[in-house]
C-alpha cells in the first residue's frame, strides 16, 4: 500500500515538472514578446532545477522524512555519522542546483540588458516586428 502510494505521488510530481518544462518551452518558442520569452526562460530553468532536487531526494526506513545533510553535534562520534548517513538526503544535487540558480540569474540579467538595448535601438520588443524590420533593411540595402 505505502510503496505504491509513494511511487504514485513521486511519478505525478515528475509528470507535473515535465509539463511545466513543456509549457515554458512553448512560451520561449512561440510567444512574440521578448519579455514574455524571458519570463518563460525563468520557469524553464527552475523546473529543470526542481527535477535535479527531486532525483536527490530519498525516503528513510518506514517512509519517514529525511533530514538535510548537516552535522548538528560537534564534535560528532562515529555513531552520529552513521545515523546521519541513514537519514540524510544527497547533498551533491543541492550544491549543483545552488550554482545553477545563480548562473541562470546572471544570464537573465544579461538578456534583460540586451532586451533594453534592442528596445532603445529599434523601438519594439516584438519578435515579429524585429524580423520585419530586418527584412526591410535587407531589401533597402540591395
Amino acid at each position: 500500500m505505502m510503496p505504491d502510494m509513494a511511487r504514485f505521488v513521486y511519478n505525478s510530481l515528475i509528470v507535473i515538472l515535465v509539463f511545466n518544462t513543456a509549457i515554458s518551452l512553448y512560451g520561449i518558442l512561440a510567444r512574440p514578446s521578448l519579455v514574455k520569452k524571458l519570463i518563460a526562460l525563468t520557469i524553464f530553468s527552475d523546473s529543470l532545477n526542481s527535477f535535479a532536487i527531486l532525483v536527490g531526494y530519498r525516503l528513510c526506513k518506514g517512509f519517514e522524512q529525511p533530514v538535510p545533510p548537516i552535522v548538528t553535534r560537534i564534535p560528532p562520534t562515529q555513531e552520529h555519522i552513521s545515523k546521519l548517513i541513514a537519514t540524510a538526503v544527497d547533498p551533491l544535487p543541492q550544491a549543483l542546483v545552488l550554482t545553477a540558480i545563480v548562473i541562470s540569474l546572471a544570464v537573465l540579467a544579461f538578456l534583460a540588458a540586451l532586451t533594453l538595448r534592442i528596445y532603445y535601438v529599434s523601438g519594439t520588443t516584438d519578435a515579429r516586428s524585429l524580423a520585419l524590420m530586418r527584412a526591410r533593411a535587407a531589401v533597402e540595402g540591395e
Binding site: 515538472l17 512574440p32 519579455v35 522524512q65 542546483v97 545552488l98 528596445y119 519594439t124
Partner: protein, 85 residues
C-alpha cells in the same frame, strides 16, 4: 509516514505551480504574467522545503521571488506593458 505527507504537499504545490505557469504563459498583460510567475516561484520554494533542501530555499526565495520580478519589472517599465496579439 511523514515522508509521504511531505511528498503529498509537494504534489499540491506542483498542481498550483502548473496552473500558475499556464496562466503566466497565456496572459497578454506582462505585469500580470510576472505576478503569476512569482506565484509559481513561491510554490517551487515550498517544494524545495518539503524535499529537505533548506540551502536551495534560502537562495531561491531572494532570487526568484525578489530579484527576478524586480529585474523584469524594470524592463517592463522601460519597454512595453502589453504583448501584441
Amino acid at each position: 509516514m511523514t515522508g509521504l505527507v511531505a511528498l503529498l504537499l509537494c504534489l499540491i504545490m506542483g498542481v498550483i505551480s502548473l496552473i500558475a505557469t499556464y496562466l503566466a504563459i497565456v496572459e497578454r498583460d506582462l505585469l500580470k504574467a510576472l505576478l503569476f510567475s512569482a506565484v509559481q516561484s513561491t510554490a517551487y520554494a515550498f517544494i524545495y522545503y518539503s524535499l529537505a533542501a533548506p540551502d536551495i530555499v534560502l537562495v531561491y526565495i531572494p532570487v526568484a521571488v525578489g530579484l527576478y520580478p524586480l529585474l523584469l519589472l524594470i524592463v517592463i517599465k522601460k519597454t512595453e506593458r502589453y504583448e501584441r496579439p
